[in-house]
């Protein structure tokens, strides 16, 4: 044990190192003067990088003048924020919100300094993208660098197309760290595609986080699947559709039944699962089992949701019901590719309760000798095989008594 350690032990808890002493003085001074300024302001601080949830915090807000400005580089886009608590730690890439703008931290707090302050830069645009797996549209404030380059058009003897490139700066989080080449964005009606990117500037050796990401984005061509109005690239490339198979019309209070829903992507069935919700006149669980609990005359609305796509049924709650019958066919196929088969199960429902009645099916609209094979398996099950694509859709009519259900199926190509 060193003499210094011995000395500290003798002094006990009242001892402060010079470092602690000077920091204590600074904190005391700052606290005493905190309200004595024109810089004091309340801003919103992201609680944790990537959360996009904010809480209020008081800061001294000041400008930054220690860089060269020009017509492109606007001084108003940079601010320095100082915190009352000299130990307040802020990492790079965290969002702040003030003056009707989001700001990104590019210079974080450093424990070396006596005071806790950061430098932030104003987000001057919004990056939007659609998640092709979840059909959810995301958006995040972002920074587009001032200087554009490669503004010379792409000229060839056959065609000339526009060109441009700029650097996009995004907060590094669980979503944005996945961005790679070819991902597209639309900024102010101009589509850009990631060409190169810097996602490797790790903040520290332990977490390996990359709090700020830099992307080289090049001007791309406008695609028919781009949502140019809302600035979402490739938005219409992923056409999700939620389809509730049953169509109950009315039933009594206390009735329990089950709904099933398919999620289709570009007309093809997926294995994706919907979430169910109901208004106050019914309850529904994760499997689509519902119970009506509204008064007579009210309407229960049951909704299946996947991403931003929904489908709903409305059930009138009545005192007594007439006999409502319907045929439900699963899976609800709209396209069958060549060389593939699908087995349908048809069920007759009476007032939401499945019956054991026999269901027959007739098929028309395409050439049964060349285009398809239809086999009745018994037990209201049928198998359809697409042998050859057809420009005429297949029309299948399921019948039980006077109840019918018509399905149109496109016999598609092999791809």
């Amino acid at each position: 044990m060193s003499m210094m350690d011995d000395y500290m032990t003798i002094l006990g808890t009242s001892y402060q190192t010079p470092n602690e002493y000077f920091r204590g003085l600074s904190q005391a001074y700052l606290t005493s003067q905190w309200d004595n300024t024109t810089l004091l302001e309340t801003v919103k601080e992201e609680t944790q990088r990537g959360s996009f949830e904010f809480s209020d915090i008081d800061v001294w807000k000041d400008g930054i003048i220690d860089f060269t400005t020009n017509a492109l580089k606007d001084e108003k886009n940079y601010r320095k924020l100082m915190f009352e608590n000299c130990n307040h730690e802020v990492d790079r890439g965290r969002f702040y919100y003030f003056d009707d703008n989001y700001w990104l931290v590019y210079a974080p707090t450093t424990p070396i300094e006596l005071y806790s302050d950061i430098s932030v830069r104003r987000c001057n645009n919004i990056a939007k993208w659609i998640d092709p797996d979840t059909n959810v549209i995301h958006e995040l404030p972002c920074i587009l660098e001032y200087d554009d380059s490669s503004s010379k058009e792409r000229i060839d003897k056959d065609i000339t197309t526009p060109n441009n490139s700029v650097i996009l700066i995004l907060q590094g989080n669980n979503d944005t760290i996945q961005f790679a080449q070819n991902k597209r964005f639309i900024f102010n009606g101009r589509p850009f595609m990631i060409s190169g990117y810097n996602n490797y500037m790790q903040d520290d050796y332990v977490t390996k986080d990359t709090p700020l990401l830099f992307f080289d984005i090049y001007l791309d061509e406008i695609l028919p699947t781009d949502d140019m109005i809302n600035g979402i690239a490739n938005r219409y490339e992923y056409n999700y559709q939620v389809d509730i198979l049953e169509s109950p019309i009315e039933n009594i209070n206390g009735f329990s039944g089950q709904l099933t829903a398919n999620v289709l992507l570009n007309g093809k069935n997926t294995n994706k699962t919907v979430t169910w919700s109901a208004n106050s006149n019914a309850t529904i669980d994760v499997n689509g089992n519902y119970t009506l609990n509204g008064t007579v005359g009210s309407v229960a609305t049951l909704t299946a949701t996947y991403g931003s796509s929904t489908d709903s049924v409305s059930i009138n709650i009545v005192s007594s019901i007439v006999n409502n019958r319907e045929i439900v066919v699963t899976p609800n196929t709209t396209t069958l590719r060549q060389g593939r088969s699908v087995t349908f199960t048809a069920s007759l429902y009476s007032n939401g309760v499945v019956q054991s009645d026999v269901i027959t099916a007739t098929v028309g609209g395409a050439d049964s000798n060349n285009n398809y094979t239809w086999v009745s398996l018994g037990g209201n099950q049928f198998t359809l095989t697409n042998n050859l694509r057809s420009v005429s859709p297949l029309v299948i009519t399921f019948t039980s008594g006077t109840t019918t259900k018509v399905m149109n199926i496109v016999l598609g190509a092999m791809l």
Binding site: A180, E237, M414, L415
Partner: protein, 195 residues
């Protein structure tokens, strides 16, 4: 009065029909394995299902980098990984003078591209060039095949078209290399387009 001349109404369907032929040809399973798997031991992998073969084909998807077969010459998106790529497209509609304009010859080019580091695969316990192997499998399957939409057979035949042949020289000189194979088929006008 306009003379009767061919309009080749099935011509646009031919690249798809070539693919369909490859997808259903039991003798082409090794072709698909060499195209899908970027590994040295690709031929020891299981055969591809119809869906797996379909999933390799890009037709209207914009995320081209996730696919391996294209029906156009140009692929705009950057391909970040080394993998085999096949492009099928027509390079020439020729003519056959002896038939007075009622037949024509379509020359179809098959561009086989692959990363330089995955350019060798094991075939019959021997390291062979992946491009050579895919070319061999293509010819094995398609040379002489009756392709819907064409009149006669797809042929690797210099008397049918002088463009038929195999040419090295594809690639970007750094990471990708490749070979192009040209085959030809007679084009005609058909009452039934096959769908």
């Amino acid at each position: 009065m306009k003379q009767l001349r061919n309009t080749f109404n099935t011509m646009p369907l031919i690249p798809y029909n070539i693919l369909q032929y490859l997808m259903t040809d039991d003798g082409a399973e090794n072709f698909w394995k060499a195209l899908k798997y970027p590994t040295y031991d690709c031929l020891s992998k299981p055969n591809l299902t119809l869906d797996e073969k379909s999933d390799l084909v890009c037709f209207n998807q914009t995320n081209q980098e996730n696919y391996s077969i294209f029906l156009t010459q140009i692929v705009e998106n950057m391909i970040p990984d080394e993998k085999p790529i096949l492009k099928i497209y027509k390079i020439k509609t020729g003519f056959e003078s002896v038939t007075n304009g009622k037949f024509s010859i379509g020359d179809y080019r098959f561009d086989i591209l692959y990363g330089g580091k995955i350019g060798v695969i094991e075939y019959q316990a021997t390291p062979v060039n992946r491009g050579d192997f895919i070319e061999m499998e293509l010819l094995k399957s398609l040379n002489g095949a009756e392709i819907n939409g064409g009149a006669g057979f797809l042929e690797f035949n210099n008397t049918l078209s002088r463009n038929c042949g195999s040419y090295l020289g594809l690639g970007n000189s750094t990471t990708y290399t490749g070979v192009s194979v040209v085959m030809a088929i007679r084009l005609a006008n058909f009452v039934n387009t096959g769908c």
